[in-house]
């Protein structure tokens, strides 16, 4: 089966529809599928629900899909870096479902693992627990959270082989593996595609069974907060 496509637009061809649920990898602007996001903007697909830890910044990452008003609803844990997001949310144009970060990651992992619901102590006694089933084990309350089953996953990895085996780099791994797992179809963009046999099978982070389409491209990899220290005097 051929998984490698020539461009992000080709990799998304035939699998987009209005109103779909997309799970996206990335944390802040680190490890985001920037090429696939650009291709989604170009495609014009709309009324999207996007499960992603963050919503990008105003002019980069998922922020681009907010500017074009293609997103109807976000499922996120932190959206503090995006003024346009805040404006659309406070004016009621955009739906927002806050998820604690670990709950969001586990909801994706669970969806990918065929688990429709799980109990967690995260959020017990807070607004997050409102309307959710509560169950006790050994005197501790837990709330029921649901697995996410996305129509499409868009993720970013460092390297892939042509069968879709993925390797991530440093903290750019973040939400990418669980996001990849929970989609009916997963499209991954990578910095380099190498021939099968070139990657050590013991060092694969995400097996190719989760990855249906692949595209290689140049990444801007924008830094959100550049923090440095001074070199000490010799």
């Amino acid at each position: 089966m051929k998984k490698v496509y020539g461009s992000a637009a080709e990799a998304l061809d035939g699998i987009l529809h209005d109103g779909m649920l997309i799970a996206a990898g990335g944390f802040g602007l680190c490890g985001i599928p920037e090429l696939l996001i650009d291709a989604l903007v170009e495609s014009g697909v709309k009324d999207l629900t996007v499960a992603s830890n963050n919503a990008g910044v105003d002019e980069f990452g998922l922020g681009k899909l907010l500017t074009t008003r293609q997103i109807k609803k976000m499922m996120s844990s932190y959206v503090g870096e995006n003024a346009e997001f805040m404006r659309q949310y406070l004016s009621g144009e955009l739906e927002l479902e806050f998820n604690p970060q670990g709950t969001l990651a586990e909801r994706m992992r669970a969806g990918g693992a065929g688990i429709p619901g799980f109990y967690t102590k995260t959020g017990v006694g807070t607004v997050i627990a409102e309307g959710k089933e509560v169950k006790s084990w050994n005197g501790q309350d837990y709330i029921l959270e649901e697995g996410i089953f996305a129509d499409l996953s868009i993720v970013k990895a460092w390297k892939a082989d042509d069968t879709g085996n993925l390797i991530f780099r440093k903290t750019a791994r973040n939400f990418n593996p669980p996001a990849a797992m929970c989609g009916k179809i997963c499209v991954a963009e990578v910095e380099e595609i190498v021939p099968r046999g070139s990657l050590d099978p013991d060092l694969i982070h995400l097996p190719g069974i989760y990855v249906h389409r692949l595209v290689q491209g140049e990444h801007e990899k924008r830094i959100e907060q550049r923090t440095v220290r001074k070199r000490e005097e010799a």
Binding site: N53, E106, R229
Partner: protein, 207 residues
């Protein structure tokens, strides 16, 4: 003189013991890393890293290597990387010994509010709800009063909660308090702060 930010961080660093895996929040808690001395502490960053190193030298920033505050950082010889589901698995699973976090309000029963102000600040809870629910010990570091001079150490939180009865110890510019049966217990006062001054700045019940 009440403690300044660095003195609060230094006091918070005393909470950490050799061999601990620890998560530090954004703000004053981040400064705690500067005061661990020669204790063997491994810092977790919830975006998927154990063994967080200092900021990089200029020119050595790596966009693939950031902390949970989205700041560029470095790795150490002990560093490991993992995905977000694994990261919060270790948090929820009680593998992280302690979290040191900032707060907007803390109540005498250990309730913590640090993620939103309705109608004003709607950024999200990030990983804070998972951390306070899962780690072994929650230490809050914050100013004792807000900019209007009102106590942030309350009988009951007024803001939406991050966690219910989750805080173990509160370190402020005025001193250190523990959450105990029936209220808060003064552990120590900041240098030059009297117990009366600490009590006067505290709305919560002190036992």
């Amino acid at each position: 003189m009440p403690w300044d930010r660095n003195q609060m961080a230094a006091r918070a660093a005393q909470e950490l013991e050799d061999g601990m895996y620890v998560n530090l929040g954004i703000g004053i808690p981040t400064l705690v890393a500067n005061y661990v001395g020669d204790k063997d502490i491994t810092l977790q960053s919830e975006n998927g890293m154990l063994g967080m190193g200092p900021f990089p030298f200029e020119g050595e920033e790596d966009p693939d290597l950031i902390n949970a505050g989205k700041q560029t950082i470095t790795e150490l010889s002990r560093t490991s990387y993992f995905d977000s589901a694994t990261s919060f698995g270790m948090i929820r699973g009680g593998k992280i010994a302690a979290a040191i976090l900032g707060a907007m309000e803390v109540a005498e029963n250990g309730d913590l509010a640090n993620w939103m102000i309705p109608g004003k600040l709607v950024k999200g809870m990030g990983g804070a709800m998972d951390l306070v629910a899962g780690v072994g010990r929650v230490v809050v570091v914050m100013d004792h009063t807000n900019k209007h001079g009102d106590s942030k150490v309350l009988k009951e939180c007024t803001l939406p909660l991050t966690g219910k009865s989750v805080v173990d110890r509160i370190i402020t510019n005025l001193g250190v308090l523990d959450v105990v049966e029936g209220g808060l217990k003064i552990v120590e006062c900041a240098d030059g702060v009297t117990e009366d001054e600490l009590r006067a700045a505290t709305q919560a019940t002190i036992v």
